[in-house]
Symmetry: C2
Subunit: 204 residues, 2 copies
């Protein structure tokens, strides 16, 4: 009879494998990482690894989901702050995120994203991620309009999309430019001023 | 005695190979393309191919240079227009460029760029490309300040860098989002309005 493995054990084991896999992806990138690399890093057998995951893409997507969840929590709406304060806080967070980016899976995720045009099965994931981000910003900006903080001169939808594009571009630039060339802190300050102008912010 | 090959013949042959290689890169992407693929597409021998190029990266970089040169010509400063008109024209060009992107090497170039963190020899090329783009925008904006068209409320340097980031992000988004989701035309119109606000444009 096969020994029974508890669900807690499985969840714990899966989490361990994911952590080891994250190290490999961060070191090697998405495409070059193999199941053998992850097996060796996690110090388990192929049988043990394939019990939990079928391929590197499945592992990578689960890691991305975990990272997005952590981000979403950090960016939850704080009802104690004004909307403009929340946007300013968010942009401050972005400064820190850009500095720490090379410790996360973001650089690796771009490798995965920018080849989606020839790996079409990745597109729905990316479209979904885009809609979630866009909805988050439009909700926030509409709350600011509703409470009288903002009198936008540009459509909220378009502004939200442009904001996402700009943040996307900052991430991509920070993949290969050092802070002293890219001046990402200053770019985010400039972005804040642009938003302030476009939204005609009234401090509450 | 080896038959003499004229310089004109060599230049012509090289151009032909580059055109064939471009087709392969556009179809397969950067990483999956091999010298064998290019040899077959160009219908030549390995000896013939290696007479002109050592590897796929060398071919790819020469193709990128050609594409950048063509772009630079399209965006040369037109002394007959006001600076603000030139910026508006540039943003209109961007709309068309985003629509045609999948016919160019831009999607493939992102594959090459976003893995530069682990292929460090690519970084100088990218830094140089960044400096060229930044200098182009700052020169243009400074001309607008000098002739009294612009009274910017944000540093010209920071605004130029932010503009590059935004365009970079639009390119990346357009890799996997269709126009009806990304609304790139509207995003570029919104970007134009933001610049108009930040520069306090005075029509001449």
């Amino acid at each position: 009879m096969t020994p029974k493995v508890s669900n807690e054990y499985k969840t714990q084991k899966k989490k361990e494998i994911l952590l080891h896999a994250k190290n490999v992806f961060k070191r090697k990138g998405f495409e070059p990482t193999t199941m053998k690399d992850i097996k060796e890093e996690a110090n388990i057998s192929f049988g043990g690894l394939y019990m939990y995951f079928s391929n590197t893409e499945e592992i990578f997507l689960q890691l991305l989901e975990l990272e997005f969840e952590a981000n979403d929590e950090a960016l939850a709406i704080h009802h104690s702050n004004s909307i403009w304060e929340q946007i300013q806080l968010f942009l401050q967070h972005q400064k820190a995120d850009l500095k720490n980016m090379r410790d996360t899976l973001i650089p690796i995720s771009y490798e995965y994203f920018v080849t989606a045009w020839r790996e079409k099965h990745r597109v729905p994931f990316l479209e979904n991620r885009y809609h979630v981000a866009k909805d988050k910003f439009t909700t926030l900006l509409k709350m600011g309009v509703a409470n009288g903080e903002f009198t936008p001169t540009i459509s909220i939808e378009d502004l939200s999309k442009l904001l996402i594009s700009t943040l996307e571009g900052l991430n991509v630039s920070a993949l290969f430019l050092e802070e002293d060339i890219g001046d990402f802190d200053k770019q985010l300050d400039a972005l804040q001023k642009l938003l302030e102008l476009a939204l005609q912010v009234q401090e509450k």
